[in-house]
């Protein structure tokens, strides 16, 4: 395959995958919503869950974005140093979003700051927003594509605490966000929490936590236990779907952590709404691919 041809192929496949992510929820989210729906005892909440399910069915049938807010696209890129197209990847990903915007179609959500104009393409200065991770001795490309909607981006916030406030301060911070901004962010939410040294690292980890599947756990047993404790605590508030009350509140809490300076403990929250449009795809060096979130996908 000629290089140019290969780049176009890769661009087209990523564009199709971006479009798909806006229409079909990942397997883990679909399964969790089904479980929440089946176990729900509050009639109104159950009715809302069933309506959500109907919406996802119709979106797939009619090939339309399931929520009108298709977000500002973010991607986590894990690229092997031996992946043949590593040098061209950044423009490829941008072009893919440009194409998906027309073809899916996606709503126009990229507004240039200061100039305050909508580019109409979902691309712009550092849009899509990319995080890079270089994988030594690998010839693969692994991508997480995420549609960050307005409603679920709004609760995002962080705070650097003094160690005296401890983890008590962290859990209070997170729960306060749940009963304020969280209500309007389309619960049941997936709650991403970052705990570490400075505010930027905490904020990054809070988003990275949202790329982990629903129901997965932190490798540290204490952090993993806290994920379950916090899930139970937020569930006991009974926010329900749409914040209109129910027997549960969230799809789960995912915590990511790093070492901290002894004098500070930073925490941040990022939430994903029930329509948590996240997709992971892995390309091999010959551009064959498979997706762990959208199994059996043909692009």
């Amino acid at each position: 395959m000629e290089r140019q041809e290969a780049l176009e192929l890769l661009t087209g496949k990523v564009a199709n995958f971006v479009g798909l992510v806006g229409k079909v929820l990942p397997g883990d989210v679909t399964a969790k919503l089904k479980e929440l729906s089946e176990n729900e005892t509050v009639p109104m909440a159950k009715m809302i869950y069933e309506f959500m399910e109907k919406n996802q069915r119709e979106a797939a049938e009619l090939n339309r974005p399931s929520c009108q807010d298709t977000g500002l696209i973010q991607m986590f890129v894990r690229v092997g140093t031996k992946f043949p197209y590593i040098d061209d990847l950044k423009p490829v990903l941008k072009e893919a979003v440009f194409i998906a915007t027309k073809e899916a179609p996606l709503r126009h959500n990229a507004v240039e700051t200061f100039d305050e104009v909508n580019t109409g393409t979902n691309t712009g200065t550092d849009a899509p927003w990319l995080y890079w991770d270089i994988i030594p001795n690998s010839d693969k490309l692994e991508l997480d594509v995420y549609m960050a909607g307005g409603g679920c981006s709004l609760p995002g916030q962080g705070k650097t605490l003094m160690p005296g406030e401890g983890y008590e301060g962290v859990v209070k911070f997170v729960l306060d966000v749940m009963t304020s901004y969280g209500l309007n962010a389309c619960p049941p939410l997936l709650v991403g929490v970052g705990i570490g040294t400075s505010i930027d690292s905490a904020a990054f980890m809070a988003k990275k936590a949202l790329m982990r599947p629903v129901g997965s756990h932190n490798a540290n047993p204490k952090a993993a236990a806290l994920e379950d404790e916090m899930t139970a605590a937020i569930d006991s508030i009974g926010l329900g779907p749409q914040g209109l009350k129910g027997s549960k509140s969230v799809m789960g809490v995912n915590i990511e952590n790093s070492a901290r300076h002894p004098s500070v403990i930073s925490c941040a929250v990022n939430v994903g709404c029930w329509s948590h449009r996240r997709g992971t795809i892995t390309f091999n060096s010959d551009l064959s691919y498979q997706s762990s979130t959208h199994e059996g996908v043909a692009l």
């Binding site: 979106a59 339309r64 929520c67 009108q68 179609p105 729960l175 209500l183 309007n184 749409q242 709404c273």
Partner: protein, 204 residues
């Protein structure tokens, strides 16, 4: 039995509807959000649509031109946007237009409560994120006004059939389900935190 309201809606129709009820709408609903509210209330411009007894939807849709037809549009995807942004205008908006049913996302505040109580109107929540299920309730887009505002802000006049579920969040008495829930949520949050604190003493 589904409770269905049909536009034009009267004060009488809303009399027995309480917060937490689920209703559906037949007739017409007009998308109407930030700038349309601002134009009527702040700039004193007359709305190009008669909303007396009518319904508005806080939403910015994706519409598509119907091929081969003159100036006809189809609803692709439409979902509610945060109603709270319209709180500042809604009381006067209800007074001036005579609108009876306001549909959006999340709660609204004391201003809208008063508007609903004094003029006998309701605010309802359409489950957000369900944009395709909402679009398929739209039988036809019958009109489009203030198109200079662009696709999301245009007033799209939609003829709808059993549009819903609409969950009543403010009733015509001015009761507000979100305000009632908030009190309970905050109380339960405090209890949850008290139970959580002893479990997070990692710094010793």
């Amino acid at each position: 039995m589904k409770k269905i309201l049909t536009t034009p809606v009267s004060a009488e129709d809303l009399k027995d509807i309480k917060v937490g009820d689920v209703v559906y709408l037949n007739g017409h609903i007009v998308t109407c959000r930030d700038v349309a509210h601002r134009r009527l209330i702040e700039l004193g411009r007359e709305l190009p649509v008669d909303l007396k007894g009518g319904a508005i939807f806080h939403a910015g849709p994706i519409v598509r031109k119907i091929e081969g037809e003159e100036d006809k549009f189809e609803m692709v995807s439409v979902g509610p946007t945060t109603s709270m942004r319209m709180e500042k205008f809604e009381k006067e908006f209800i007074e001036q237009t005579g609108v009876k049913v306001i549909v959006g996302k999340g709660g609204m505040g004391p201003n809208t409560e008063a508007g609903c109580r004094e003029n006998k109107a309701i605010h309802c929540v359409f489950p957000a994120g369900c944009a395709v299920a909402a679009a398929t309730c739209v039988e036809e887009i019958e009109g489009a006004y203030w198109r200079d505002l662009g696709m999301p802000e245009t007033l799209w006049v939609c003829r709808v059939k059993e549009f819903g579920p609409l969950i009543v969040s403010i009733d015509a008495e001015g009761n507000n389900i979100f305000e009632q829930n908030k009190v309970e949520f905050n109380k339960r949050k405090e209890e949850a935190l008290e139970a959580l604190y002893p479990k997070v003493k990692f710094i010793k």
